[in-house]
């Protein structure tokens, strides 16, 4: 090594090394800093050598962790030194000490620029390196064109150009406009022809970054990348020095394959074939050898090739080959390969059709859960989590529970969350689910979040047959000597609610239950005390005939807690004490908790969010996004579990879902204050509506609801946090319904309102657009003008719908003569609650609207709404977004389920086929997402022809109940404007309507939607009005 040393620097480093403790070191450093500071102050006497030496010392001190808050200017000024050694030190230390916003950098920007455009190659390199390391907006603005020139200059030596490429990359990150110039993609393509591998590697890094932001622009570069890979694979023209342990530059190969993963697909058959040849060669030609470094290098290439193969959606055969390779890797001795094998197998889960092959390796993966390396254990956990489905959930979850005993703290939280999620998602039966969660709480109570135990309580509450089982389990756990507090909470809660179901079992009399729970009381925290008090009240209520001794005991406790330090507890104690003396009324007030409304699991939601966070950025993430948007592979649920249909999720409620009283009752329990307010008012008020409309069952709700604070009482324990965790408007998004985003189900140009010509008040929103949005969403604004805003919120369950109209007066004066009528089409039964005649200033009223779907139809219901403001009467007719797709629920069928159904429907008029012309020319993935938006689950793999789409859904109506609908679209790749559409269902009317409905969305010509004329309709129109009045088309015809 010929680099020069500096004596002073060595002495200083040596002194530091000789310090025996931190204190000595600090003294020595302080002395040195003082010395440097004085020297810098009279810098006339400093030689360049000394300056250089001090600057290095500063960097050393800085590295040791001491604050170096001076000397920055001296460091920066070295950059302007005429001679190389000082300049070099200046550049290097500046890029370590200063960040891009440092003002001193501005001082040297001219020097840097002069160095870059100057003739001195070594100066160029130094300047490019520093600019590339620091980045910065100002550098970007003032230097980018010069850097660019160096990169594409033919006269520059490779050593300069490769630095220019990476410097430009850094500047591009700060300011993407630096490559925003005409013909840049052609320049890029030329650069990829570079022969020098050093330059090419740098250029490829730049290219990866560009293409990751905007692949579209660089299609022309794609064949070049393939050619580079071919050159490497054949080892053509690769200088010895770029061959690393016999592998032609693994870095360049890896980067090139990474770049290709940013292109959505590779269509050019020639390039595709050539690429697959290279990939095949890499997959087949990589062996495990003795030399570790060679192994690493060859496997770096191999793993990137695997990622690329997955991205390209290769033939199944090649995919299976990849899985087989990965299967081999996860069992090898070399830990790095094992680690990457597991990681890539997890990515592989995104690929369709290979899950089953992956499952064959389950035993090996479970073994990896016991690997000495935590990195590998984490990978194994991720993979097991991803590959879990109904078939293997029991086994996997039990492994995870077992592993929980030995897992290090760092992993326990993740582990228990994952186990809980899997148990919920894939439970073969509910009692197993309860077992798993209780075990989780028992083994890792500290790591079990509240969500987990709230969820199990919800399940138990909603499933009657589960209640005795859960109560018995809870009772068993209470016998354990040391119990986690969460277990105390959940056991006490369950026994309070359902303990009476166990009454005949030994050890389960009210007295015994009370005694064993009361044992825990002295040691638990306030939040648990609150639950225990409620439990006591419940036990008291369930004790029939009353047991005076027990009553005395419990009342004594209530009395005692009336003066407890926590006001919440005080209140409970007082209320329960009073209640318990009310005799029979007690049973009413403390009756069993009502069923919970179905809602998306806070846990599952959390899991999805977490997946988004930790998902691989870069290529993999991009790819999964593409897949989601094309809806071919991953639908609606987290990508890793892509193969599992949503219907496999446990659903909360088994009870008849139309039990409106119970539902609203449950809604009522959600403390309004805690309901998430995405769009503010509507949700909040809805709760109030329920309060009013369900006031008659108030007595059933416990605890006493005389004032607001008590709402945050016992119920809030369970419901409050859940309501917060739940999605906005949680109630309407139950997984069962799966009603989510969809597009406008009705023609684009439909007239949304039929304004009376006399109306002087115009809407201030695009009413038609609002209608379309609401066709795909379940809450939002339907109409708005200067005086009133009409909002809408809807919940759908099977063939029922519950809408609430929110009429908000925006003015400071009253709106009068308010009228709202529904003109329902014949296929919908609609009941609108009565509308008040006036709306007070700044007030909002809510009008519930019940909908029942009788049969399939594309007709639309219309709201005829009028009011008078001042002397101006206003009348609008608004289409209501009660459209066909609201009653569809996508389902995914396996080939074994699909084909028998498809064949069985081979009956004329049940299965209808039509060649549709004039179709909007859509690429297949877009068509698939259009279908998804209509709640038609596109199921890949059913039709072998890649130009075809097959989709399944369930339609709900009163006449058909749940009815399976199957759809097949055969497209013509030559002519995208036509296709053949086949629709099949068990009902010919439904088949026809669904076919027309789909057609409307496929055809280019906007459909003009008929809207009923403003005919006079009596208030409270009976739901089953004559067809001619209900059919908007007929009505319009009548008008004309």
């Amino acid at each position: 090594m010929a680099l020069s040393g500096m004596r002073g620097l060595s002495v200083f480093v040596s002194d530091i090394r000789n310090c025996h403790n931190k204190e000595q070191e600090r003294l020595r450093v302080d002395k040195e800093l003082g010395n440097i500071r004085t020297r810098f102050k009279n810098d006339k006497v400093l030689s360049p050598y000394e300056k250089k030496k001090y600057v290095w010392k500063m960097l050393y001190i800085y590295m040791l962790g001491y604050d170096v808050d001076f000397g920055h200017m001296e460091t920066v000024s070295l950059i302007s030194a005429p001679k190389y050694p000082e300049k070099q030190v200046g550049y290097i230390v500046t890029s370590c000490l200063l960040n891009e916003n440092n003002d001193f950098l501005r001082m040297v920007i001219n020097t840097v620029r002069n160095d870059i455009i100057g003739r001195n190659e070594t100066f160029q390199c130094l300047a490019l390196t520093m600019v590339g390391n620091i980045g910065g907006k100002e550098f970007s603005e003032s230097l980018a064109p010069d850097v660019q020139k160096l990169l594409i200059s033919s006269s520059c030596r490779p050593v300069v150009r490769k630095k220019a490429a990476l410097c430009l990359l850094r500047l591009y990150r700060k300011n993407p406009d630096v490559v925003n110039i005409d013909g840049w993609s052609d320049r890029m393509a030329q650069l990829l022809d570079e022969r020098d591998l050093g330059v090419l590697t740098s250029v490829m890094s730049l290219f990866v970054s560009l293409v990751s932001n905007n692949a579209e622009t660089y299609w022309n570069c794609l064949p070049k990348c393939v050619r580079i890979l071919e050159r490497m694979a054949r080892n053509q023209d690769i200088p010895q020095e770029y061959t690393y342990y016999g592998i032609p530059s693994p870095w360049l190969q890896v980067k090139t394959m990474r770049a290709l993963q940013y292109f959505p697909t590779i269509e050019d058959p020639g390039a595709r074939r050539a690429l697959f040849e290279v990939l095949q060669r890499i997959l087949m030609g990589t062996d495990v050898v003795k030399n570790v470094n060679k192994n690493n290098a060859s496997h770096a290439v191999l793993f990137e090739a695997l990622a690329l193969v997955m991205h390209l959606d290769a033939e199944k055969e090649m995919m299976s080959q990849c899985v087989a390779l990965l299967g081999k890797f996860i069992a090898v001795r070399e830990p790095n390969i094992r680690y990457l094998g597991l990681e890539n197998m997890t990515r592989m889960l995104l690929v369709t059709d290979v899950q089953d092959i992956i499952k064959r390796h389950q035993a090996q993966i479970i073994t990896s859960l016991k690997d000495p390396d935590i990195s590998i254990r984490r990978r194994a956990l991720d993979l097991l989590y991803g590959m879990c489905d109904v078939t293997n959930a029991k086994e996997i979850v039990e492994e995870l529970l077992q592993y929980l005993n030995t897992a290090e703290f760092a992993m326990r939280e993740e582990l228990s969350l994952k186990a809980a999620i899997l148990a919920e998602k894939f439970a073969p039966d509910l009692s197993w689910y309860v077992d798993v969660i209780l075990q989780l709480i028992d083994k890792a109570g500290d790591f079990v979040s509240d969500d987990i135990w709230y969820r199990v309580v919800q399940f138990v509450t909603n499933n009657d047959d589960l209640q005795p089982y859960a109560a018995a389990k809870a009772r068993e756990y209470l016998d354990k000597p040391a119990l986690h507090e969460t277990m105390v909470k959940v056991s006490a809660y369950l026994l309070g609610e359902y303990g009476h179901l166990l009454a005949r079992r030994p050890g389960c009399s009210p007295k015994e239950l009370f005694a064993i729970i009361n044992d825990k009381l002295p040691t638990v925290s306030t939040s648990t005390v609150a639950i225990l008090l409620s439990t006591y009240a419940k036990i008291l209520m369930h004790t029939q005939p009353p047991d005076v001794g027990l009553q005395q005991q419990i009342l004594t406790i209530f009395k005692k807690y009336e003066s407890y330090i926590d006001v919440e507890i005080q209140q409970r104690a007082v209320e329960y004490f009073e209640l318990s003396r009310k005799g029979a009324a007690l049973a009413d007030v403390l009756a069993e908790m009502p069923k919970f409304p179905e809602r998306e699991s806070a846990l599952l939601k959390k899991a999805e969010d977490a997946e988004v966070d930790t998902a691989e950025q870069s290529a993999i993430k991009l790819r999964s996004q593409q897949q989601t948007s094309s809806a071919l592979v991953v639908v609606d649920h987290p990508p890793v579990n892509g193969s599992v249909p949503a219907s496999n999720h446990l659903t909360l409620v088994k009870m008849p879902s139309q039990n409106v009283a119970e539902e609203s009752n449950a809604t009522y329990e959600e403390p309004p204050v805690e309901t998430p307010k995405e769009n503010g008012a509507p949700i909040e008020v809805e709760s109030k509506v329920d309060i009013i409309s369900e006031a008659n069952i108030e007595s059933k709700v416990e605890p006493p609801t005389s004032h607001h604070a008590s709402q945050a009482d016992l119920l809030a324990d369970l419901l409050g946090p859940l309501a917060i965790e739940g999605p906005p408007a949680a109630v309407e998004q139950s997984p069962v319904q799966g009603l989510e985003a969809n597009q406008s189900p009705v023609g684009d140009l439909a007239l949304a309102t039929l304004e009376d010509q006399s109306n002087s008040v115009q809407p201030i929103v695009n009413v038609e657009e609002k209608f379309h949005i609401l066709c795909s969403k379940d809450s939002g604004v339907l109409y708005e003008d200067p005086h009133i805003q009409i909002g809408l919120k809807a919940e759908w369950r099977a063939h029922h719908g519950r809408l609430v109209l929110f009429l908000g007066n925006k003015n400071t004066s009253t709106l009068v003569s308010v009228r709202a009528l529904i003109l329902p089409p014949s296929h919908l039964k609609m009941e609108l609650s009565s509308v008040p005649d006036t709306i007070p200033p700044r007030a909002q009223v809510q009008i519930p609207l019940e909908v029942v779907n009788l049969r399939a139809s594309r007709d639309v219901a219309v709201l005829d709404f009028s009011y008078t403001f001042g002397a101006i009467p206003v009348n609008v007719k608004l289409r209501l977004p009660v459209v066909l797709n609201k009653f569809l629920q996508p389902i995914t069928l396996s080939p074994e389920e699909f084909f028998p159904q498809w064949k069985a429907l081979n009956v004329q008029s049940l299965k209808v086929q039509e060649v549709v012309k004039g179709v909007k020319p859509l690429p297949l993935p877009e068509m698939a997402s259009l279908f998804m938006s209509l709640h038609l689950a596109v199921t890949p793999g059913l039709d072998n022809n890649p130009n075809n789409l097959v989709a399944c859904t369930s339609f709900f109506s009163e006449t058909t109940r749940a009815m399976l609908c199957l759809v097949r679209v055969e497209t013509d790749p030559q002519d995208r404007t036509q296709l053949r559409l086949t629709v099949a269902s068990g009902d010919q009317h439904l088949t026809f309507e669904l076919k027309e409905f789909i057609k409307e969305h496929l055809i280019d010509i906007p459909r003009v939607q008929a809207v009923p004329p403003p005919i006079a309709v009596q208030p409270q129109l009976p739901p089953a009005a004559p067809a001619s009045y209900n059919d908007p088309g007929a009505m319009l015809a009548g008008l004309l």
């Binding site: 050694p85 390196t129 410097c167 590697t201 690493n296 770096a300 680690y339 950025q617 870069s618």
Partner: protein, 166 residues
């Protein structure tokens, strides 16, 4: 992108720190400590990869090599290939070996400035710039030649730096 390169002793003392994505200076020592805790907890013959989300943020990993009394650590995000990073650590170590003829911790301690020079020839702005240790050596030798030419420095051979060792 490579976010940082760290060389530290098996005692946890930093020997070289270079950050390619800005980290506030007051955080540097915490990062060193955090990484060292991860490293020192690992037995031999496990993988060279550690997920470092907790220290550097989501998706960030580190790859390390443990050689004699030193850890060589590269911190990188998901846009890089893990094994390629490991190869790069190897190139770095091999280059140091060529520079110092059997590199040992003392070489690294007393020549941390040279390490910066070498690293700058290998990584720029978080991207690998040169993977051939021959090329890197050539550039470094060129720099040495330029330094000598300017006559302002004295040359201290390795034997002298060894005198300072304890």
């Amino acid at each position: 992108m490579i976010q940082a390169v760290m060389v530290m002793s098996t005692q946890g003392k930093p020997r070289l720190l270079k950050f390619y994505s800005f980290q506030p200076p007051e955080k540097h020592q915490d990062l060193v400590r955090g990484v060292f805790q991860l490293l020192s907890a690992r037995p031999d013959s496990v993988s060279n990869f550690i997920e470092a989300d907790a220290i550097f943020g989501p998706g960030v990993k580190l790859v390390y090599k443990h050689l004699a009394t030193l850890y060589f650590v590269f911190v990188f995000d998901s846009s890089e290939n893990e094994l390629a990073m490991l190869d790069l650590v190897q190139v770095f170590v091999e280059t140091l070996d060529k520079c110092f003829k059997n590199v040992c911790e003392l070489d690294v301690v007393f020549n941390f400035n040279k390490l910066h020079t070498i690293l700058d020839e290998m990584i720029l702005g978080g991207q690998v710039i040169e993977t051939s240790s021959e090329q890197i050596m050539r550039s470094v030798e060129e720099i040495a030649r330029l330094e000598k030419q300017s006559n302002t420095t004295s040359l201290i051979p390795k034997s002298i730096s060894e005198r300072f060792s304890r």
